[in-house]
């Protein structure tokens, strides 16, 4: 039997790019290409470095979430041969091969290509996998099958180089109906919702949605466009993004920030002018053919029709008598062997395809009622990787175990919830679909779930404790999509118990029950059990160590605020008190103030001595606070050691310190950098690399500018900013990135950072003179 | 005696006057020379009287009026 053609016909440029991978890798291994240049190449090729193992992950795009069995068998094979043997289904319908040695990534790339798969555009500032409702084509309420559109659009966009060099990643999704959004199209950069009008096909279009640390629902771009316009719509939005996306700040580069910045009206009008321009210019390429998705679906006569009781794992389809079988994976993980078996089952029993879902599950659709029983039997034989009906649907991000930005171990919480529910003998379908993110960024999409948990850290009795914000009521859809609202925060350890108690509510009103329970669980029991200070799956106390400053650091904001609050309270106590209380309160205020900003650097100390040392290193020596503060700190230590009788006299200085700390905190931007300028310029601190204050508001886009004019322009721009401040320079790969940073260094300026940003680089340089 | 004239070591019978040195060094147009003796610019009137001793440094600075 010959394999069917891949659903997505990879454009020639993608095939060429993949064929060139081995050569590029070899040149990197031979030292001909710099680390950073290779990183900039490999990430848009879909190859990511994993944080802990030093090995690599290859993210394979499954167009519209679809794969032929032979393609999944290839993924399984490659995962077994070169990876850890456990492929992973993502929330964007990709499938990832983990733990691949760098030298083997070329084998993986080529092996995928042979099966008509590709990781090209799997990462970086590219057009990412174009997703669709996982049940599209089978969904009873769908307007029409959107999968051919998703695939055609992918073929169109992947053919252009510009699709791999956008301001930031660009995600497109197709929902097969308006009233439900299985594709999460309402919270993506560009979302198409299928609808019909007088028998004609068309779309409602939303754009500028997104999750992450600043989630928002997309705005309406088109109430109705004919289906033939779908490429023009996407091209226009892509162009708008390309022109107006803020390439200077990757934390505010996504399309939703363009929308925030311009406002919905201007955003729409820019979109319309791009559409207008396209009408006169025409598209950059032909619209790929819309090919119906082939189906090997057998006539229902193959087996006698039987009555089937729908369940979360058995979903009726639009064609009566056919069912979609859901394979509930725990957090998207499935062993290679089981994946290969799933492929066999799909080949023999369904429409011949396997679908990956946004819930990190797999679906086999097109199963005639008469075969549902045997398919379920076979699925049950697949072992623990595929959970039975008694498991809740939980999605979780990678979490702090692999994500440098993460705070809490979201996957461990998911497992703890599953275990707790099993212990309590609660059927999985009693629980609402749950989504968990290990930090306020919503890689686990916790904002859009019926029930979502977002990790954060809090200080309890002076120690850090992992916490989760609890979100309820997230709804997706073309109309009235809304993000979940936080109803409070509870310690990580309390989440499973609270959830079980809420679900056990007899009326099934888990959400109302949860609101009633949250206050009770928000406060740890007294005395606080040690495990409350440990995250799930860990036996050491929760800490921020190793958490780099990054947008996820937003999760520590509460702690900083609390410390500043403590400092203020101690200060006002000192103001009212007489000695010796005056001195002890002043001391407390100084310590709290000194400690407040340290979490922004990933520091967390309990001992006063360590706090003061870290404060000195991070803030005092680096010029962020008045140098006279040192005198205050010395006096505080002297008082503490009993070497001086009083500290209360320095109340005013303590007040000024708190003032400054608060001002610095208020100036922190989304990248956890201070926007205020230093009190003292400090320039020779080699650890300055990741310091707050290296934020560059100043940006110079010199892509496309050749040597030495790029250096000339960058230097002129640097001379235009005050000494001590930083400039971001965007540079091309090759000669520019080799020369410009070196030239700045030669001339005594500090190269703070060079970072790959898609196919170009961002150089951050600090003016020293 | 050994002296330095325009950076070059010169051996002469000496001591002698600047005027005599100009002759010995075959300076063609002595009217067109200003003399720095041990770092000090001499007036023309001093040429006849100023003695040059062993180890002295003498620079002849030439007038150059051209420029067009």
């Amino acid at each position: 039997m010959t394999n069917p053609e891949p659903l997505l016909q990879l454009p020639d440029n993608v095939v060429q790019d993949v064929r060139g991978y081995r050569n590029k890798l070899q040149r990197f291994l031979d030292g001909e290409i710099s680390d950073i240049a290779f990183k900039a190449y490999r990430v848009p090729m879909g190859v990511y470095e994993q944080r802990e193992s030093g090995r690599f992950m290859v993210r394979v795009r499954l167009p519209a979430g679809l794969a032929w069995p032979y393609q999944l068998r290839r993924v399984a094979e490659l995962s077994r041969q070169y990876g850890n043997g456990v492929p992973h289904v993502t929330t964007r319908q990709d499938i990832q091969i983990h733990d691949v040695a760098l030298s083997d990534t070329a084998n993986v790339q080529e092996g995928l290509l042979e099966a008509g798969l590709s990781a090209r555009g799997g990462g970086g500032n590219t057009v990412r996998n174009i997703t669709a409702c996982p049940t599209a084509g089978a969904c009873p309420g769908e307007a029409f099958d959107v999968r051919p559109y998703a695939i055609a659009l992918a073929e169109y966009l992947l053919a252009f180089k510009s699709s791999y060099n956008l301001p930031r990643k660009f995600k497109v999704a197709f929902a097969c109906r308006e009233d439900e959004d299985g594709a999460m199209a309402s919270v993506t950069d560009l979302g198409f919702f299928a609808r019909t009008r007088d028998g004609r096909r068309g779309f409602k279009v939303l754009a500028g949605g997104g999750l992450g640390s600043n989630p928002r629902v997309g705005v309406l771009l088109e109430e109705w466009v004919e289906d033939t316009e779908f490429v023009a719509v996407a091209e226009a939005v892509k162009r708008l993004f390309d022109k107006h996306g803020d390439r200077s700040n990757k934390h505010a580069a996504r399309l939703r920030y363009v929308l925030d910045r311009l406002g919905a009206e201007q955003f729409r009008s820019l979109y319309l002018s791009e559409r207008e321009a396209l009408r006169t210019e025409g598209l950059a390429g032909p619209i790929p053919e819309l090919r119906p998705i082939p189906s090997s679906q057998r006539a229902s006569g193959d087996a006698e029709p039987v009555e089937i009781e729908p369940s979360p794992n058995v979903l009726p389809e639009k064609t009566p008598g056919f069912y979609t079988i859901r394979l509930n994976l725990l957090l998207g993980d499935i062993s290679a062997d089981v994946l290969a078996s799933v492929a066999d089952v799909a080949e023999q029993s369904g429409d011949g395809l396997v679908r990956a879902t946004q819930q990190q599950d797999l679906l086999i659709a097109g199963v005639p009622s008469g075969k549902v029983g045997s398919v379920l039997d076979r699925v049950n034989e697949l072992g623990e990787d595929v959970l039975g009906a008694n498991y809740p649907s939980i999605v979780a991000c990678a979490g702090a175990s692999t994500c440098k930005l993460g705070l809490c171990l979201s996957r461990n919480l998911a497992k703890a919830i599953v275990n707790r529910m099993r212990e309590a003998r609660i059927a999985g379908d009693k629980a609402p679909p749950i989504r968990i993110s290990g930090c306020p960024n919503s890689c686990g999409n916790h904002y859009v779930a019926a029930l979502g948990f977002g990790g954060k850290a809090r200080r309890v009795e002076g120690r850090l404790m992992p916490f989760y914000d609890v979100f309820v009521g997230g709804v997706l859809g073309a109309d009235g999509a809304r993000l979940g609202q936080s109803i409070g925060a509870v310690p990580a350890r309390a989440v499973p118990d609270m959830l079980v108690e809420a679900i056990a509510d007899e009326g099934g009103h888990w959400a109302a029950a949860l609101e009633g329970l949250i206050d009770k669980y928000a406060v740890p029991p007294e005395p606080i059990p040690d495990e409350y200070f440990m995250d799930w799956g860990r036996t050491e106390p929760f800490s921020l160590a190793g958490r780099g400053p990054g947008e996820c650091g937003a999760g520590v904001m509460d702690i900083v605020e609390a410390d500043i609050g403590t400092a203020r309270a101690a200060l006002s106590a000192a103001e009212r008190a007489d000695e010796p209380e005056k001195s002890s309160s002043t001391y407390e205020a100084v310590i709290a103030a000194a400690r407040a900003l340290l979490p922004l650097y990933g520091d967390e100390f309990c001992k006063d001595r360590e706090i003061l040392a870290a404060f000195d290193k991070r803030l005092l020596s680096d010029g962020w606070v008045d140098p006279d503060t040192r005198g205050l700190l010395d006096a505080a230590v002297d008082w503490r050691m009993g070497d001086s009788p009083r500290l209360g006299d320095l109340l005013q200085q303590a007040a000024e310190l708190i003032e400054r700390i608060e001002a610095l905190f208020k100036s922190v931007d989304s990248n956890l950098n201070f926007r205020l300028t230093r009190v003292v310029d400090s320039s020779d601190d080699s650890e300055a690399d990741d310091h707050p204050g290296d934020a560059a508001d100043n940006v110079c886009d010199l892509r496309g500018v050749k040597c030495p004019m790029n250096f000339v322009k960058a230097k002129a721009a640097l001379e235009g900013i005050p000494i001590g401040e930083s400039l971001d320079v965007l540079l091309d790969d090759g000669e520019p990135i080799r020369n410009v940073p070196a030239s700045f260094a030669e001339q005594g300026q500090t190269v703070v950072d060079v970072e790959a940003a898609g196919e170009h680089f961002r150089l951050r340089v600090r003016r020293e003179k | 005696m050994e002296i330095t004239v325009n950076g070059d070591a010169v051996t002469l019978d000496g001591p002698l006057t600047i005027a005599r040195l100009l002759v010995e060094q075959k300076v063609k147009m002595p009217d067109m020379v200003s003399v720095e003796h041990n770092g000090k610019i001499l007036d023309r009137a001093e040429f006849e009287t100023q003695q040059v001793q062993s180890g002295d440094t003498v620079e002849f600075l030439y007038f150059m009026g051209g420029g067009a």
């Binding site: 030239s743 | 770092g39 007036d43 007038f63 150059m64 009026g65 051209g66 420029g67 067009a68």
Partner: protein, 272 residues
Amino acid sequence: MNLTDEQLERYSRHIILEQVGATGQEKLLSGKVLIIGAGGLGAPAGLYLAAAGVGTIGVIDSDSVELSNLQRQVIHHTPDVGTPKVESAAAKMRAINPDVTVRTYFDRAGPDNLVSLMSEYDFVIDGTDNFSSKYLINDAAWFARKFFSHAGILRFSGQLITVHPGQSACYRCLFPDPPEPGAVPSCSQAGVLGVLGGVIGTLQATEAIKYLLGEGELLTDALLTYDASSMEFRKVTVRRNPRCRLCGPSPTITSLEQQDQAVCDLSGSCKC
């Protein structure tokens, strides 16, 4: 001042330099240099200063271009013969660099105009061809307290020195006694290798640029001499002359009008 893209490109090789940069280029663009004499020394100086983007360049000269000038005065071209040198020079400088404002003075530099003229500039280049002018410029610069570059060329030799009036040795410190009128051969009598003006005039422009940038060490208290036959540069250290009639502690020249009788007369007898 913000450099335009065109300026960034035009001056890119300056901006790259650590000692110049955009800031230095901006200093040049706001700098003002007066060139006295658009001849063998003034020609290359004017061309390079214009190319360098010195924002305002003044040129004073009362002569017109002659065929015999073209062997060395590279700012003037064959079709310019007969036109005032200041016009010819200004046209070339503007053509090189439209950023530059060229002010022309079709006039003779004299005791009546020189101090006030110098006061409008930051730096002065002496590109004259006769002793009377060289002493005059030295003295005027003293009264105007202007930095200037003195230079002379003759046959196969040239020399220059930069003067910081009141702080470093002046021309009179080195040459206290002007030669008798007619005793010194001027270039018309002795001839000059054409490239000499290029070498020395370019060094003068270098001093002007360094001064405007505030970079490097100026050629003060040192006479740099160049001998093209032996290809030798020598730097003769000099110092202020305590008996200097102009800048010494007991000056005898207290106004510009006094100094003329000491040198050949200013009407132009020793001109080329």
